[in-house]
Structures are given as C-alpha cells and as structure tokens.
Symmetry: C3
Subunit: 202 residues, 3 copies
C-alpha cells in the first residue's frame, strides 16, 4: 500500500513538473528558470506541508522526486507541441495529480497527529501551493484563487478521508475512495466548466 501511494505520488509530481515547465516556456524563461519553475510547482506544496508539520522534507529524504522533476523539465521542451495538442491528456493527468496530492497530503498529516481541520489544510496545500508559487514567480495572481474550481475537490476529498479515517475503515479503502471522489468532482468541474463566482459585497 505504502508503495502504491508513493508510486501514485510520483506520477502526480511528474505531471505537475510538466505543467510548471510549460508555464516557464510561456514566460520565455531560460533552461534554469524552466527547471526552477518545474521544481517549485511539483514539490513546493509538499515542502511547505512538511516544514509546517515539522517532519523531514520528503525530497531531502528520498531524491527520487527530484530525478523525476529534472527528467520532466528536460523532456518537456521537446514534447511541448505534442503535449499542448493533446491538452486533454494533460488536464486529465493534472486532475489525477490533484487527487493524489490532496489525499496523500491529508493522510500524511493525520499520521503525524494533526487535527482534522489542519489535515485537510495540509492536503489542499500539498495540491495547490506549488501552483500558487509558480504563478507568483511568473508575476501573475494565482489562477486557483480566481477562476477555477480547483481547490474545492481537494477540500471535499480531504474531508472525506478524515471522516472515513474517523469511522475506522481500512486505510487502503479510505485512500482509494477519497481519491476517486476528488477526481470525480474535478473532472465534472472541467467537463461542465464549473467555477465559483467572484465573491461580491452585499
């Protein structure tokens, strides 16, 4: 099970690294900028999560994530056209990454004794903070704060995991279910172009 989670997490990292590399290319960054943006997008959220929980940062312990990020940053420029012409594959993969990061981030926080609310926050942070740092470095207001129904699936998925966890069900089952819930809501949001409206004063 541990291995399954890790394996799925590495796929999420690869997808997020590609999305970061594509954003860097749109900004006409050089090769170093491309690697930096790919890296912060893929591992930034998990890094902040680990620092706040005061546990060892995951990629300092096991550099496999870094190898994957660098490999993805290296191949994205050559595959860029192809990837963009198959945008739907990328969007699907990104939705999987979102689901995996949100659920495994929440699970990790629960395992280190975080309260339910903090655990859900850590899941959302794992999934969304990397993309927010990417947008800040590219000098844009983070997209996730304005136009996309991106964080809500992560919040709902994390909350489901906490509830299932408290109900005492099997860990494998909980993680699988919560991932599927997150992924489903995200895919429905993409398919029907759902988004939250801007908040207005009343």
């Amino acid at each position: 099970m541990e291995e399954l989670i890790n394996g799925l997490g590495l796929i999420g990292i690869a997808v997020f690294a590609i999305s970061g590399a594509l954003a860097a290319m749109r900004q006409e960054m050089d090769a170093f900028g491309l690697v930096v943006i790919a890296t912060v997008t893929a591992i930034g959220g998990g890094t902040i999560r680990d620092i706040i929980l005061d546990v060892p940062v995951f990629w300092v312990q096991d550099p496999m994530s870094l190898y994957i990020v660098i490999a993805m940053a290296a191949i994205t420029p050559f595959w860029g056209r192809m990837l963009e012409s198959r945008m739907s594959i990328l969007v699907l993969a990104d939705a999987c990454g979102l689901a995996l990061f949100a659920v495994t981030g929440t699970e990790k926080a629960l395992n280190f004794g975080a309260t339910p609310l903090v655990a859900v926050m850590m899941g959302v942070m794992s999934a969304a903070a990397g993309g927010m740092i990417r947008d800040v470095l590219c000098n844009e207001v983070p997209l996730v704060l304005k136009k996309e129904l991106y964080a809500l699936p992560a919040i709902i998925g994390g909350a489901c995991l906490v509830l299932l966890h408290m109900a005492g069900f099997d860990q494998k089952l909980n993680i699988t279910l919560a991932c599927m819930i997150t992924l489903s809501i995200r895919l429905i949001a993409i398919k029907y172009s759902l988004s939250l409206p801007p908040v207005e004063k009343r």
Copy 2:
C-alpha cells in the same frame, strides 16, 4: 496573563482575516481565494516566525485561530459594505492587531531565547509578513514597504519590550506598556497621515 495575551492575539487574527478577505474581494477572487488570502494575512506572519524559531507552529497546536479565520472569511462578504462604511473602526482594529502581534511575537521569541535584535525582528515579522504575502498574492508591491508608517511602531514597541524585559520589570506590565506605546505611535501616524519618505540617493 497567558490567557489575556491569547485572547488579545485572537482578536488581532480576526481583524487581519477581515482585512485579507476585503483585499481578496477587491481582486474579484472566488470563495476559496477569499479564505486563502484571509488565512495567509492572519496567520502567515506568525507561521514564518515559528518556523524560523523552530518551535511548533501555533495553529497546528491549537486550531482556534483557524476557526476564527474561517468564520471571519465567511461573514465578511455579507458585512463588506457595512465594514467599509465604518472604515475608521477597521483601521483602529488593525492598529490594535499590529500592536498585539508585534508585542506578543517579540515576547514569544524572547521566551525561546532569541537575542534582542532577533526578537524585535520576529515581532515585526508577526505583524507585517502576513500582509506582505497578501499583497504578493494579489500581485502588488507590498504597501508596508512603500507608503505607510506601519512597521516603525512595531519596531519601537518590540524594542521597548526588550528593554523593559532586560530591566527586569514584571511581564504583565511590560507587555501592557509596549502594546500601548505601539498603538499610540500607530494611531498618531494615522491621525496625522505620517509616512516615511522614499529613500533617495545622495
């Protein structure tokens, strides 16, 4: 005394959360963006302070701050017009938050054995860093770096606390005095629209 500080700190968090929520609404963010900006404004500075001091992050230990932030983020859209028409109340409350964060941040750093200069820095960071992250996420140069006499009261208040602490006076007295000094300077700065001039080359 401990309880008094905590209670005052929670009021500061509520005020900063409201100012973050109002900034998010000006940026036409959605409900998630509003909660994120309210959260980083209210607890961002204290989080960085705790990470640098390598002590447990305060809201991971006790989630009360988070409940307050979420409650404030939820009610601000409904109270937005009313709050802005009573701007002077908000400005006064923000000045109280500044004083409380600066002094309690300095006190916390001193308790964990920080040197005087580091302790004052931690106080200023508690009070000002959250607002700086808010402005960066909203894609603006942080206001506190340019146009407002905002950080100076925090620096003076923190320095007073350190001096009183070294003079060996009673902790309650020290904190009360330092808070009042910070608040007074800030209110005088607001009343007379004082600000530091831009630094020019000589």
Copy 3:
C-alpha cells in the same frame, strides 16, 4: 578554515544587502522597505536552506549577519550614486558573493548528510533564492529565471565541490577550488554577456 569561510560568507552578505538596498531605492520604497529588501536578499536564501535541512537558522544563532545587513542598508543611500558609478565593482563583488554562497551552502548541506543532488540544490538556493524573493517583492519576474547566466556557475561550482568531496581531497582545497571555478565562469559570462536562450518548443 571555519573562520575563513565565515568571513567570506559575511562579505557575500554585505554585497547582497547592498544590491537589495539599491533595488528598493529604484522602487521608491521607504526606509523600512529598504531594510526589508536588503535583509531578504542577503539572508533569504540561506534561511530557506536551513529550514529545509532542519538545522538552526544561521542568523538566529549568530546575529553578526544581521548587524552587517543593517549597516549596509543604512549606508547605501549615502553611497548610492558612488556605488552605481562604480557598477563594475558591485558586479565583481556580487560574483564573489555568488561563488561564496553557492560553495559554502553546498558544503553545509554535505556536512548535514544531504545527498549530492540535494547539496547542489541547497548551494544554488543559498545563492539565488534571496534575489528571487527580492524580485517577487518588487513585483517583477525574477531576473535570474530569464536573462542572466547566474545560476549555472553556482550549479557547476556546487557539483565540483561534491565531486572533490567524494574524491576525498582536503576540505580547504576543495572549497577554494570550487569557489574559483564558480567565480571564473560567472566572470566570463559577465565579460562576454553570455546568457542562456529562452527555451522554445520543438
């Protein structure tokens, strides 16, 4: 040796603080903004490095760095014209700072048991992250990601140090050599205006 590294590191901090103060003055910030930008430029990278490695943050332990930053921030406005008219001295000093931060950052990470890839990352982060935060606070896309051959010398220098370290040579020799390699590449890049081209899609 330890003292030599520390002494050289403090020179690097002084140079980076001046470059931060000059950037703040270009943005017409006030005195507080100038100190903040000088501080994050000079010690931001090393702070993130220490937090990720989970070791005590260097300037909390020994406040000498902070005194130097504040002194540099205080004198830069008076020396501003003179400094800019001798830009070449500043650029040379900045290249020395880059070399010192990259190599001592890598060395510190190796001493705390980091893997080679993580150690090189920590060196680059020490050298470049402070400038990136400076640019984000000044609301610009970090220069280092786009137009300058700035990070590559740090990467090569850090990698050389790791290789020399693994080859078992004397620590003093390794550090001296790696610093000279980093500095040489950076100076060549400046002299011939070398930069990496933007990455393009293929």
